[in-house]
Each structure stands twice: as structure tokens, then as C-alpha cells.
Amino acid sequence: MQNITRIYALSKRNIILRYKNSLIGFFWGFFKPLLYLLIFIVIFKHNSGIPNYILFVTSGLILWFFFSNVTGQSVGSIVGSVGLLKSLNIPSYFFPLSETIGELFNLLLTLLIFFIIMFWFGMDYNIRLLLIFPCILLFAVFALGLNLFLSSVNVFFRDISIIWNTIQPALFFMTPIGYAESSIDPKYKFFINCNPIYYFIKLGRSILYDPVAPSLQQWGNCLIICIGMYAIGHFVFSRLKNQFISAI
């Protein structure tokens, strides 16, 4: 119980800190996806052959930006908490965890607004949409696993955050968000299949956009990736955590 209060307090701190000095606060979170949406409309829409293109892109973008924000924030979460780590006896995984929870909160708000706006863009309101919550849960645990990995390694090698910021755009374009999966040359399909984010975006999009529910196989893939990533992150983090204080 005490731990829940602590994680809550830290998550709240993250949300306060993120919007502290920005005038439009929370709404800033919408501008980035909006900008990307506009770019995609200009570049891809006319010959994409995708029906209801705006809904198609937006459902992918929301999930992508959750992922991109949460990893970008968490990578420095341990290094950024030196003061607290050195003065209180709190488990260090609280820091990446509370970053993930703070961003999850953001995603839920975004999703709410998305559900309202997509009324004008042909969203099919259906009880099936609720499946997005288990999907988000899987994606969030996956992201948490990655965050545990990134934030702990970053303590020892500060260039991890730079490397991660460089890889991110490449991952973004390797994920079919603005274009249809079918438009990829089958020769290169392999690369897309290697991209773990692809499976989560695809699952989310099946729920929000496709007329048929996602297959069990899709859920299974995501579950396996999610557990695998969490296991790796947890392993690396617990190996390194005892030396955090000496390295930061």
C-alpha cells in the first residue's frame, strides 16, 4: 500500500514536471501526432488506396507516440533521479515505472479525445473497441521492459539515450503507420517482421480500424514479445541496480 502511494507520488511528479514550463500543457501532446498526420496526408494519402485514411493513420500514430514518449522519457529516469536515489531508500525501478504510468495516463486522455473526434472520420462505435485496453496493457508492459533496460544501461553509458533517439525515427518508418503493409516489397517484409513495435501497432489498429477483430495469433504474438521484453529488461536491471549509486 505504501508503495502504491509512492509510485503515485512519483508519477504525479513526472506529469507536473513535463508540463511545468509549457503554456499549453497537455495539449502540446496533440501537436506532434497532428503534424505527422498532416505530413502523411500530403505525402501518402492520394495513392495509398486505404479507405478512411485519417482513421487508419491516427490509430497508429497514437500508439506510436505513446511508445516514443515513454521510452524517450524513461531512458534518463534513473540518472535524473540521483538526488532522490541518494537520499531515500526507495526501489530504483519505481522511476522507470512511474514514467510509464505517467505516460499511460496521458495515453488514456488522448484516447478519450480520439474517440470523440473520430466520430467525424467514420469510426465504428462498437463494444469491440474495449479490446484496446488489454492491447494497451500489453504494449505498456513491453515498453516498461524496454524502459528498465534503457534506463539502467544509460546509467553506465550515457550515450544510450543518444543512440536510442537516433534509432527511433528508423523504427518509426519501419512500422507501417502511414502506409499499408501491403505496399512493402515482399523482399523486405522480413525487416518489418523483425520490428516488435509492428505487432503492437497492428493489434491496436485491428481493434480501432479494421472491421474484424484481431486474431488469436495476433494476441499471442504480442503476449510473447511483451513477456520476452519484460524478462530481458528485468534481468538487466536487477543485475545493474546495486551499482546505480556509484555510477550516477
Binding site: 505504501q2 502511494t5 514536471l17 511545468k20 540521483v82 541518494k86 531515500l88 553506465f156
Partner: protein
């Protein structure tokens, strides 16, 4: 364990990974082909006991391992070998405001640290006590901590660490930057806490303060205890180091 004893250290060793010279990034690791870290012993085979209600002074040169020892006792650093047994609760170690969040205001810091320390947020009494003891104005507490002077930071940090009613008070150099008025007030408060029967671990570079507050003391040199005994005697030893 005897219930009189609140803290017990048995053959405690702490070592840190230190960066091998010049290896800070993956690029260095790949190009220099040497192991990125080496282990360095910071606390070397320390054993001692603290009785409930005792106040123990810890003195020593800069870098002798005092802060590390305090953090090990508080459970913030895990020892590499040896056993640390503690039979009580701690206040946060806010050595010169290290635990304060620069971007948050004084009030936000208070709320954050209180909830991290398990004091319910509804406890407005705690907030009032902190404000009163720190003598910071309402206006100052609404400012981000990064705009505070170092004395103001110390006032806030020390007041927060007093706020939770813990069994063990750990004081690491907090008095160094406060003005005279605040120093006197702190010493007064520490005495009062001591009289309530609380245990105090006191790190300071001022032998007079140590003699004043502590019953016993230990002198650390390079992570080892070289002298232990009555605070007054140890303070003499400490002065002889220089």
C-alpha cells in the same frame, strides 16, 4: 539481537564501480578495449553497534566514506559483504538538499517527499510544521527550489527530514550552510530530539558541534575506523589529523 541495540554493523564492506579513466561511452568501450569499470573499496570491514537513544558522531577527512557509511546504514547502498541490522525507521538523508527536485516548488517538494516517506498527504500538520521550522515564507515555498539560496535549500531539506517521526535521525553536514540563527535552532532541535530518546547519527566537520551533540564518536580514514570512543576524545584525534 539485544533490543537495546538499534543499529548493528558486522564486517561491512562496500565497494563502488569506478569508471576506468576515460571510458564513459560505448564508443570509448569499443575503441579502448579495456574493461569499463573497476571495483574500488569504499568501506572496509566496519563493525559497530549503536544503542537506542545514543548519538554517534562520525568524523573524518573529505572522501573518507562518511556519507557512504550513512547510506549503507539507511539501506540506500547495499553492502558487498557483511550484515547491517537496523531495528527502527529513518528520516530521509537530505544532505544539503540533494533529494529536492530543482524544478518543483517548495510545496511540491514537501508533498512529494512526504508521500515518498509514507506520511499521508492529508496530514496538513506536517506541512505546517515544516513551514514553521524552516521559517520560509509562503512566497518562497511557491518558488521552484532552483531559485533558492543554498541556505534556503538547507532549511527546507532539514525541516522535511524532521517532519517524519522516525526512530533514527541521520544528519549529514546539514548545518554547514544555514545562517547563525538557523544553526542555533537546529542544534537546539537536535538536542530536543535526543532528549526524546531518539537515536542520532551525526556527520560534521565541526568538532565543537560533534562534542556538543554526541555521546560517542568514530573517526574514519579511507573507509576504516581508526579510532572510536567518547566524542570529546575523538574530536581531539580528528583535529590532530590536520
Amino acid at each position: 539481537m539485544n533490543s537495546d541495540i538499534i543499529i548493528k554493523l558486522e564486517n561491512v564492506h562496500v565497494s563502488f564501480w569506478q569508471n576506468n579513466v576515460g571510458v564513459y561511452s560505448l564508443k570509448d568501450l569499443i575503441t579502448q578495449r579495456k574493461s569499463p569499470f573497476k571495483s574500488k573499496t569504499i568501506i572496509n570491514d566496519i563493525s559497530f553497534e549503536v544503542k537506542r537513544g545514543e548519538s554517534l558522531g562520525i568524523v573524518g577527512r573529505n572522501g573518507s566514506g562518511k556519507s557512504t557509511l550513512l547510506r549503507t546504514i539507511a539501506g540506500i547502498i547495499k553492502p558487498k559483504a557483511g550484515i547491517v541490522t537496523v531495528n527502527g525507521t529513518f528520516a530521509p538523508i537530505l544532505a544539503i538538499g540533494a533529494g529536492l527536485e530543482q524544478e518543483l516548488t517548495g510545496y511540491e517538494n514537501i508533498t512529494l517527499l512526504l508521500s515518498l516517506y509514507g506520511i499521508p498527504r492529508k496530514n496538513t500538520n506536517a506541512v505546517a510544521n515544516i513551514r514553521e521550522f524552516s521559517e520560509l515564507s509562503d512566497e518562497a515555498l511557491r518558488m521552484p527550489v532552483k531559485q533558492y539560496s543554498s541556505g534556503m535549500v538547507a532549511r527546507l531539506a532539514f525541516s522535511i527530514s524532521l517532519a517524519n517521526d522516525s526512530d533514527i535521525l541521520i544528519i549529514d553536514e546539514v548545518l554547514a550552510v544555514g545562517d547563525q540563527g538557523f544553526q542555533i535552532k537546529c542544534v537546539e532541535k537536535i538536542r530536543q530530539i535526543k532528549n526524546q530518546g531518539k537515536t542520532i547519527l551525526f556527520v560534521s566537520h565541526f568538532p565543537d558541534g560533534v562534542r556538543d551533540i554526541c555521546d560517542n564518536a568514530i573517526l574514519l580514514e579511507q573507509g576504516e575506523i581508526t579510532h572510536r570512543g567518547l566524542a570529546a576524545d575523538i574530536c581531539e584525534q580528528y583535529k590532530m589529523l590536520f
